[in-house]
């Protein structure tokens, strides 16, 4: 089991991608083991998506070495997936998009993300949070070795964001798959992330969320304010500070302050 846990699913060494006469990203070293969560952060155009695409094999690296475990099965949750109204697609049908699965497996997969009641719904009618959950279930039904999530909480409200991160953590704990996650929200890196890789055309810094938050390169790239607000989600973290100073709790209620809700201060998120 220990050998399983440290087995590298994928490793990029000195990886670079050149397109249109310039380097999109260069000198990336990255590896993901089973059960490991690696998060890529960085500003727009820093090469996060490019790096993820090389990892999934959609893009070819122009330089460096990319090694993948033979027969590596990848589950992918894309950043943007707008399904045209002209395409009638129920959630159940979406689940079997790239593979054949029994109705029982589909129902179980949806149940696992708390979307068991949505099977017959049209995907165009789902809310942002529901859609992301369904996309997660769709990627997981393939029993992937590696789950790649591109901005998994995009278009999801705050309470949904926390719930989604919890769900992703559960998935990792239950299935032991490796997870590569992209986040452009610099202030939010989940506590369960083992390694944060901060990109800006190259790797600025690498380490646990705590180490990256304190590294000079990170501070230079995003400023000290970003470091202060680099939120690391804790379990009991359940509220957000609104711009006007009030506090919105996960259950939706808004209070004047967070005083009567015990919380630990490294774990909050400032809206706006």
């Amino acid at each position: 089991m220990d050998a399983m846990a440290t087995e590298k699913l994928i490793a990029l060494t000195g990886m670079g991608v050149r397109a249109g006469g310039r380097w999109l990203v260069r000198g990336v070293d990255l590896s993901i083991a089973r059960g490991e969560i690696v998060t890529l952060i960085g500003p727009n155009g820093s090469g996060k998506s490019t790096t993820a695409k090389v990892a999934t094999g959609v893009l070819k690296a122009s330089e460096g070495v990319v090694s993948r475990l033979p027969g590596l099965r990848i589950g992918y949750v894309p950043q943007k997936l707008s399904i045209d109204w002209t395409l009638p697609l129920t959630v159940n049908r979406l689940m079997t998009l790239t593979g054949r699965f029994s109705p029982e497996a589909v129902a179980k997969g949806l149940e696992a993300v708390g979307a068991g009641h949505l099977g017959k719904a049209a995907v165009q009618n789902l809310s942002g949070g529901e859609f992301q959950r369904v996309l997660l279930a769709r990627a997981m039904i393939r029993k992937p070795d590696l789950l790649v999530l591109d901005e998994p909480v995009q278009g999801v409200d705050f309470a949904g964001e926390v719930a989604l991160y919890d769900l992703i953590k559960d998935i990792r704990n239950k299935t032991g798959c490796g997870i590569l996650m992209i986040s452009h929200d610099l202030h939010v890196v989940m506590a369960e992330t083992d390694t944060v890789i901060c990109l800006n055309g190259h790797v600025c810094c690498t380490g646990t969320p705590e180490i990256v938050a304190k590294s000079p390169e990170y501070l230079q790239l995003f400023g000290t304010r970003a470091a202060e607000t680099l939120a690391i989600y804790k379990h009991h973290h359940n509220h957000e500070h609104l711009p006007d100073g009030r506090v919105q709790h996960a259950d939706g209620c808004v209070t004047e302050s967070a005083e009567h809700h015990g919380h630990d201060h490294e774990g909050h998120h400032h809206a706006g």
Partner: protein, 273 residues
Amino acid sequence: MMLDDFFYRAVIAGVGLALVTGPLGCFVVWRRMAYFGDTMAHSALLGVALSFLMGVNLTIGVFAVAAIVAMALLLLQRQASLSTDALLGILSHSTLAVGLVLVAFMSWVRIDLMGFLFGDILAVSRLDITVIYLGGIVILGLIILLWRPLLASTVSAELAEAEGQRPEAARIMLMVLMASVIAIAMKLVGVLLITSLLIIPAATARRLSATPEQMAVIASLLGALAVIGGLSGSLHWDTPSGPSIVVAALVLFIVSLMLPIGRLKGESHVRNW
């Protein structure tokens, strides 16, 4: 025997074609390839002219030219100096115009231009029917065989590719299938009306379907209904057959718009988080 009557021959040929254009038309609608299909269809006239010029089989000539135009467009898109929209406009009209000019030059052959532009379904022979059904079975068979990868790459090329499929191959396959449908459909409905048989039944089927598979089957059935209705109308009122089929398809589409919203499938769901 039914095949002895020109009307029944037309119905049998038209229904065979509609069964194929249904599922293929769904992809045209889902992937927003309507104008693309039009461009390929317009290039069919160039295919006709070149076939006469080089003495090759008409169906094969039309298929080849339509496929070449499709591939040319793919290559031009990669250069990306012009928008796809403008490229389609250029290819669509220039191939049609070059075809018309070539036909005018070939004074030694008599070409029924109207027949190619608007179709002459009442003139289909038993051989035409054989070609339609054999070609149709091959095309439908390929669509069924490749259904999952074709659909997956339609929903998201990126996702399909990340999970080990080949969306670019699916795209080229669809173009080849479209070129073949255009080649066998040209004689029936003409180059100017082929895309309507792809798009209108599929668009009509959308409001009656909850899954892609349902939409494909319903589009086939609606297309067949439009052929039967249009040809019957054409016989009754002595109207041109190709356009009458398109008008019948349009009538079905308008009727589908009148279905009450509550009847729409896969639409009812209460958001709860």
